[in-house]
């Protein structure tokens, strides 16, 4: 696009990644809405676009938009952190187009082919039918190549330029992130072995490497947006890495309670994952404490101007601090002990946790990075909120929190009726689903889903137009 203040090719590439990410975010919400309608009106698009298809696109678009936004965030901060232009930027641009094209083909196949025969051809070309990483095998290989190219660029840049603490953490984290994807690519007839390795991807992404990524991005944001001191920020980052990996790696045990794995995972999973909220508390305190500290330093100088140079982005970063702790920490801790999980595993409780955790921990901070990119692209020194910012932020956040509460209420019915009273049979399942609280929960989830989706349009409008507003400091 024209009128860009960006001189760094790496930052230009970042804006491309953010554009695709925002588009896929919209697709995620749209197909989530279809699935939510199907809970309320079961005949909606029946045998045209069934729940399984809508839900597959809903969660795949989620994972992919976040990966796009994560790649974008790294390409955005690299020039600032290392002081040089990203090495291999032309390769990065080529891989961006490869990635975008592959994702487009995969989604079109999901929508128009949907299911295949029970053979290897379907696994290679349609989908693998494994939650979150359904992408067919050809795309798996493509994604691996793209991820390796991205990691190579990050490493070459980090080694050539100034390797800050943030860049060091990102280098270690992103190579683990890419490498773990490989553990989810093989096929086995043994469903226990299948799910054992499937969690290596899912858990070690969202409860370990992605969280460390968020820690790095939060550190970068605090330095750039409120001028926090690098030494303090990086000390917090190392503490967070210690606690996140210390609890998160063996916290994987909480997925190994009931899939056929030995009983000793009860103990390992329970106590390590019970500690997983601690680093999230640390991140929460860290963000708010630094904000107060920097503002206090200004006040001490007799200035009463806000230290925040990007209001919308900082709002999303603070929401991340709250959302990560609440969604991943509290809602996760609810059902992480095996005594509780025996009844909550695989219910709407999990779904409630999933919604608030993915949103609170990842969506928030990645949207924040999009606003940072908008600021940079338009050469704005201090970026203020617009009416759309406020509508977007409150509707998306309110909508997701509302959905989470609704799903939690529905989850109680699932747990108490289907599981505890009825022993989880087919008949017991539908007893639970027919409960009044369950039905009401699903109605409210749909309403809150519509609120979220409406908020998304304000977000897009704002991202496209806020740079042209005249009330910023340039």
């Amino acid at each position: 696009m024209a009128n860009s203040y960006l001189t760094s090719e790496s930052k230009k590439l970042a804006t491309w990644y953010f554009t695709v990410a925002a588009t896929l975010f919209g697709a995620q919400l749209l197909f989530g809405l279809v699935a939510a309608i199907q809970y309320v009106i079961p005949g909606f698009l029946f045998e045209i676009l069934d729940f399984s298809v809508a839900r597959m696109i809903h969660i795949n678009a989620l994972v992919v938009w976040m990966v796009f936004a994560m790649f974008g965030s790294v390409y955005w901060l690299l020039p600032d952190e290392t002081g040089i232009e990203t090495v291999g930027i032309e390769l990065g641009k080529l891989l961006f187009w490869v990635f975008t094209a592959a994702v487009t083909v995969v989604v079109l196949v999901y929508i128009f082919v949907q299911v295949g025969a029970a053979d290897e051809t379907s696994i290679w070309f349609i989908h693998e039918g494994r939650e979150y990483i359904e992408a067919p095998r050809w795309a798996d290989l493509g994604i691996t190549v793209v991820a390796l190219g991205f990691v190579a660029n990050l490493f070459m840049t980090g080694m050539k330029g100034n390797r800050s603490g943030i860049v060091t953490v990102l280098m270690a984290d992103m190579i683990a992130f890419a490498g773990l994807y490989l553990t989810g690519m093989f096929y086995t007839d043994n469903i226990t072995v299948d799910q054992f390795w499937w969690w290596w991807v899912i858990h070690l992404w969202v409860e370990a490497t992605w969280e460390v990524f968020v820690g790095s991005i939060a550190a970068y944001g605090l330095i750039t947006m409120i001028g926090a001191h690098r030494k303090v920020v990086e000390m917090w980052l190392w503490i967070e890495v210690t606690m996140l990996f210390g609890s998160g790696i063996l916290g994987m045990g909480h997925h190994y309670f009931w899939i056929g794995t030995p009983e000793y995972w009860w103990e390992i999973g329970a106590l390590f994952s019970a500690l997983e909220p601690l680093p999230l508390v640390a991140m929460f305190i860290h963000v708010l404490y630094d904000w107060g500290k920097m503002q206090g330093e200004e006040s001490a100088k007799g200035k009463d101007v806000s230290v925040i140079t990007n209001k919308p982005a900082f709002t999303w970063f603070v929401l991340n601090a709250f959302g990560n702790f609440l969604g991943a920490g509290i809602w996760g801790f609810f059902h992480t002990l095996p005594q509780v999980n025996l009844y909550t595993h695989g219910t709407q409780f999990t779904s409630a946790h999933g919604h608030l955790a993915f949103f609170g921990a990842y969506a928030t901070i990645l949207i924040g990075m999009m606003y940072i990119a908008v600021q940079g692209k338009n050469g704005i020194k201090v970026m203020n909120n617009t009416t759309s910012t406020i509508f977007a932020t409150s509707m998306i956040t309110g909508g997701v929190v509302g959905m989470t509460v609704a799903l939690t209420v529905a989850g109680y019915v699932d747990v108490l009726v289907t599981r505890a009273q009825m022993g989880a049979t087919w008949a017991g399942y539908f007893d639970g689903q027919s409960g009044a609280w369950f039905a009401q929960g699903m109605d409210w989830r749909l309403v809150m889903g519509v609120v979220t989706f409406t908020g998304f349009f304000f977000l897009v409008k704002d991202l496209l137009s806020i740079g042209k507003a005249t009330h910023h400091v340039r």
Partner: protein, 217 residues
Amino acid sequence: MAKKSVWSDNRFWQRSAAWITGFASVLLIWLTFDTSGQISMGNDSDLKNGVTKRVPGPTVINYKITYEMDKKRQHEVPVIGEKEKFFGRDDYSEEEAAKLLHLGKLGSQTKNCMNCHTLLGNGAYYAPDLTKAWLDPAWGPTGSMQAMTGKSTKEEAMAEFLQHPSQYPTHARMMPNLGITAEEAKGLVAFLKHMSSIDTNGFPRNFGKIQGAVNGK
């Protein structure tokens, strides 16, 4: 002035992060080797010799499976009993049974079961959990699902349902037709029967034990 505390020293935390990440990873890998040994699939001679495996071999489809409370472990475990006919046979060879299971497991993925159902509790929550579906009384001789399909055995009833799900609605929310062939349905039922024999440490609790009136229904 007091000396700088180690607790606010970046290098201390950097080294701690490296140590803890590295050591936790090593432990995880060690645990993975230990667990992998325990969750590898058994074989036909294990079943014949009464060797209990967490994940039995595919020929488990030749046997009757029940889900019973284990006093020592204090939760239910699958118990493999005497021979039981599966689609009219109880003498599937290791190759035949493995082939059926392979077809069924592939089908469970290509038909996208996991994006409505849960398998071993993982997946979506739009349809019933399938972990112990084979043991669901609804499919048994006096069960409503078997009666609805007009078949005389559990496996035939399940296979019939899988091929024509929208003909047998159990709720306003129905399973769509996924183009499952007769052979694929047979494989899928074998996969479900095999899955029900996996030792899931007592998940789901009380499966199939509670029937009829709850809540004054």
